[in-house]
Amino acid sequence: MDDAKTFIGKGAVLEGLADHPAVKAILGWNADALADAKYEFGELTLTIAPEEIAATATTMQAAGYNFFEDMTAVDWFPASPRFQLSYHLVSHAFKERIRLRVLLQGEDPAVESITSVWAGSDYYEREVFDLFGIRFEGHPNLRRIMLPEDWQGHPLRKDYPVEGYR
């Protein structure tokens, strides 16, 4: 794929990357789940409706994106929607990486866990729960992973100070 190309917006990506396996998979399954899309720096980002993330993960896994590489969050405080989840999936067959992006509303958001699709997302979801305070429904062991159990607050949120007292 040509890295120099850039497509911003759902329409542009659907038109410019109609042959992309991830784009085809999501259109073949449920086009409504795709809220937005972009192709920048040679990386495809698909923005998924929050309630569809686990089903999308299943679809992507079946479409050849067999390896869950990474998941983390971004806090866009004070903007709304405040939290963004970024899932990075790698395809061993296509030798390519895609990003699924989920935007979450509210101060205390919750989203469906994808541990049933990739058991390896367990620690990543715990980490995001610990450091951002985003809950994952259906997670088998959702507890803090880095910080002590009795810690107050979620340090990677933008309203949490870098130094000094909380």
Binding site: E69, L131, E149
Partner: protein, 404 residues
């Protein structure tokens, strides 16, 4: 279930309270390679459950990155996986360069490959020494650390630092390597294959080492993929995937090397895969030495790359750029990138979100040792307690990159 100290208590499984015992391993156990705490449930000497407890080394490095300029993050990255320092630098630099769409001169790219491979050798030598020491073969440790010392001297020659090199910077390298550097690397890799034979002579035929590793810590390819296992343990489980070959970066596509794969999926397979990887690294370094291009080691981007000291003292422009970069940093266009590389332990990745200012909005590091702990229970279940030590050695973890 939490207790006042904030530590999870693992009770024996229901119905086996009289027979099972829960023991604590770490965080100060020498075989856990750092501050890893394992809560292990055993039935006699058979492992029933393993619960890794991490976070003892958590320093909030991702939060710290958000408060620094882009170029100030480079020294932080060294400290995450301190056994493979240049791979950290490389991954971060590549990610930021992707956002900046910087063109890196060929010599810098080839030097980066050379240094990343030296760094991989460094990481593998420490793995081999400590793994063998855990099993009880103490001698190998002394030999591998002898060779590691040579690598650290090479790092010192280029960066002035043995471990926290920070030599790979955004836009290239910190400075030209010393004139005799390539000759020194050549001298080092000329003798290394013999040294690897020496380790192999000590271990491969050693019946104790063999019996402790063969058939121990089995991890199927499907489990390895499901649990996020990468690097040598993934390839030892029969999955032929290496980012250097399959999603090349920093001109790795111009190098010829084999990616060792084994289908045995046990600790022994991981040992063999890494040993071959070390030999392949030597070949890559040789190719880098033979074809080292001429030219600058920094990109032509005066607003991003610090000028040479010489220029700074003679040219007004260079002095102004230096002052600007050091005091205000440089802005990076808004956007998000993920850059993955293959480091000694597996797939490393930096996810950087920029909001268009001089400080990264969010830096997230994906490190291979973190997800692999999830596979620990799978590998140890139903085996003897002593095998836990062999398995931890074989997956090659560094707690700095787990806790970050």
């Amino acid at each position: 279930m939490s207790n006042p100290a904030g530590m999870p208590v693992l009770e024996p499984a229901e119905g086996a309270k009289d027979q099972h015992m829960v023991i604590n391993m770490g965080p100060q156990h020498p075989a856990t390679h750092g501050v890893l705490r394992l809560v292990v449930e055993i039935d006699g000497e058979i492992v029933v459950r393993v619960y890794p407890e991490i976070g003892y080394l958590h320093t909030g490095i991702e939060k710290t990155c958000e408060a620094k300029f882009y170029h100030q993050v480079v020294p932080l990255t060294d400290r995450i996986n301190y056994l493979d320092p240049l791979a950290n630098n490389l991954c971060y630099a590549l990610a930021v360069e992707k956002l900046l769409t910087l063109e890196i001169p060929p010599k810098a790219q080839w030097m980066r490959v050379l240094l990343a491979e030296l760094s991989r050798l460094n990481s593998h030598l420490i793995w081999l020494g400590t793994h063998a020491m855990d099993i009880g073969a103490l001698t190998v440790f002394l030999y591998t650390f002898r060779e590691r010392e040579d690598i650290l001297r090479l790092f010192e020659a280029v960066a002035g630092q043995r471990m926290m090199t920070s030599y790979i910077r955004i836009g290239g390298l910190a400075m030209e390597p010393p004139l005799d550097f390539l000759a020194r690397v050549q001298g080092f890799i000329r003798t290394l294959p013999e040294k690897i034979d020496e380790y192999s002579n000590l271990l491969t035929g050693n019946p104790i080492f063999r019996n402790r590793l063969k058939g121990v810590g089995h991890l199927s390819a499907a489990d390895a993929i499901a649990l996020g296992v990468t690097g040598p343990p993934l390839r030892a489980s029969g999955v032929d995937f290496d980012l250097r070959r399959d999603m090349p970066y920093s001109s790795y596509e111009k190098f010829q090397f084999k990616v060792p794969v084994s289908n045995d999926a046990d600790c022994w397979a991981r040992y063999e895969v890494r040993l071959i990887e070390m030999r392949e690294s030597i070949k890559i370094i040789q190719q880098a030495l033979d074809g080292m291009p001429e030219g600058p080691v920094k990109a032509d981007a005066p607003k991003v790359v610090l000028p040479d000291r010489e220029k700074m003292k003679t040219q007004m422009e260079a002095l102004i750029h230096h002052f600007k970069i050091v005091t205000e940093g440089f802005t990076v266009p808004a956007g998000e990138v993920f850059q993955g590389i293959e480091c000694g332990h597996g797939q490393m990745g930096y996810y950087i979100v920029s909001d268009g200012t001089a400080k990264p909005y969010r830096v997230h590091m994906r490190y291979p040792s973190f997800p692999i702990l999830q596979a620990l229970e799978k590998m140890c279940k139903g085996r003897m307690l002593a095998d836990v030590v062999a398995v931890i050695g074989s997956i090659d973890i560094v707690l700095g990159e787990i806790d970050r």
